[in-house]
């Protein structure tokens, strides 16, 4: 008599969780933009046995954006999921993996991310700032001011903008714009950049310094402007096009 098929794999079974962890690391490792994502829930898992010690797994994963930019070298385990009040972003991923002799490999993956709805945020947190479009005029102006301010006060390598990661705007009880953006060091000092910006190029990959900046501009009820930048150091295997947008 044929043996009974094994019970279906549950979403919280250790094998499912191991596969999901592998898939999330793969997804983050193959992304060069935005933020790292962390596992929030395994929505579905299906297993197709292929033979002895060989199976195909299909995973549906629900991820949440963390506060770590994808260039940030710290491990995902040390990254905090962005809290609901910061207007969370969710990622939905379909992943096809193979488990051969106990080793996972990703055969295919497809992800879509979307921000929580403004209505959802408003309902639970009426005064929380909402995500703004990255090409919003106020956002671009804030990034430009922040980078110029940082470069003018820092004699070291002149930093260029790689990408704007996120931006939020708030109108009440304070009027403010808050932005986050990734930067890369160039082969110029700030003074050299002031003299001939066109000659400043991103450092070659083996010397490159990436970093991440946050800036907030408050205009009401009183004016305030803060900029903070953190340089990560060299990130092997990560390249950005040298034609990156520059706000200067």
């Amino acid at each position: 008599a044929p043996t009974a098929p094994p019970p279906p794999l549950g979403c919280d079974d250790p094998e499912s969780e191991a596969a999901a962890e592998f898939a999330v690391n793969y997804i983050n490792g193959h992304s060069h933009h935005g933020y790292k994502f962390a596992l929030n829930r395994i929505e579905q898992v299906r297993v197709l046995p292929q033979g002895p010690n060989n199976e195909i797994l299909f995973l549906e994963l629900d991820l949440l954006e963390t506060t770590c930019h994808i260039l940030n070298p710290i491990p995902l385990a040390n990254c905090s999921v962005r809290i609901f009040e910061e207007h969370a972003v969710e990622g939905d991923c379909d992943v096809k993996l193979q488990k051969l002799n106990g080793q996972f490999s990703v055969l295919a993956s497809k992800c879509h991310s979307h921000a929580d709805s403004a209505e959802d945020v408003r309902e639970r947190c009426p005064d929380c700032p909402l995500l703004a479009k990255l090409n919003d005029t106020d956002v671009l102006a804030t990034v430009s001011s922040a980078l110029n301010d940082y470069n003018s006060k820092t004699p070291d390598a002149y930093l260029r903008l790689l990408e704007i990661g996120r931006a939020v705007k708030q109108y009440h009880p304070v009027r403010m714009v808050s932005v986050e953006f990734a930067v890369a060091a160039t082969n110029c000092t700030s003074q050299q950049a002031k003299d001939n910006l066109g000659a400043c190029q991103l450092l070659p990959e083996d010397q490159s310094n990436f970093g991440f900046c946050t800036a907030t501009v408050v205009t009401e009820p009183s004016q305030d402007f803060t900029v903070k930048c953190q340089l990560y150091g060299h990130q092997p295997g990560v390249t950005y096009p040298h034609s990156g947008q520059d706000t200067s």
């Binding site: 919280d12 929030n40 829930r41 395994i42 969370a88």
Partner: protein, 38 residues
């Protein structure tokens, strides 16, 4: 009838109380939410 008696026995059998401390297994999917659902 035989059919009715059999059905009644099955119904009675289903009413056997669960042992004390019995926790029904969770549904296999979806899994637990680790942070929050949006």
């Amino acid at each position: 009838s035989v059919a009715k008696r059999a059905a009644a026995e099955v119904a009675q059998h289903d009413k056997v109380p669960r042992p004390v401390g019995f926790v029904p297994p969770p549904p296999p999917c979806p899994g637990k939410i680790r942070h929050f659902k949006i």
